[in-house]
Symmetry: C2
Subunit: 145 residues, 2 copies
């Protein structure tokens, strides 16, 4: 058996699985408030800086606008954000939190810690996290070409 093709030797499969499982860990916490994980990411971006064009949100999340646009439309339908045409550039769609969208932050205060604790184990501790972050950041930067 060719070692290169062994599933257990694949970095990608580990990243793919870890990403799916941690998203699943978020699911019950977010679903309680009618949110999906990608929608939660959009909220993280808007809580940091409200009123951003679609493109800035997409760039921050390293996603394409064809992924973000329908996602934002669903969030608009839920009354979490508003979408309005940009004033200085009519091509832009400016996304803005509603009161409901801002208030969600208070309702989700326990989420980061709950998920953070869920992943803690032998090798994942407050001391080892920075090293892991650094490696993942390097992978991300490397693949962004």
């Amino acid at each position: 058996m060719d070692e290169r093709f062994k599933l257990d030797n694949q970095l990608c499969f580990r990243l793919y699985t870890a990403s799916r499982l941690i998203t699943q860990a978020y699911h019950p916490l977010l679903n309680e408030h009618g949110l999906t994980y990608p929608q939660y990411l959009v909220l993280l971006v808007l809580w940091e800086k409200d009123e951003q064009p679609v493109n800035d949100i997409a760039k921050r999340l390293l996603l394409e606008t064809n992924t973000v646009t329908p996602l934002l439309k669903r969030m608009e339908a839920e009354g979490i954000v508003t979408r309005s045409q940009g004033k200085k550039d009519a091509r832009q769609t400016i996304v803005k939190l509603t009161k409901k969208g801002r208030d969600l932050q208070n309702k989700l205060t326990n989420v980061p810690e709950t998920v953070g604790c869920a992943v803690l184990c032998e090798s994942i501790t407050p001391e080892t996290i920075p090293g892991l972050f650094g490696m993942l950041d390097d992978i991300i930067n490397q693949l962004q070409r």
Copy 2:
């Protein structure tokens, strides 16, 4: 600004992004042969051990059968695998590689190395990979409850 809600402090966002970007790195290499990344994972499983029931493939990939079943049906339509009813247990669907499916391994020999090289950088080297694998495995095991 609450540090806990900063996007740059989220492990999950890093895993999610790294997973997406590395899957994108596979895309041109696999697409050339009509494969998607999850289909490639199924091939890795079947190349290790042919003729497995749907459930074993799903368990190996930590996916649900409702994800794997339609994926396998598409692979069957492409002539990469066959699906047949199990003999000793009629509930099982046994998945078996076709000649085309087996031959794909030779056509994809360069894929692991190409993607492997694409992620190499400062902190990701043959020496640091085992440590990263260990941390990701720990996260995966921890979240599998």
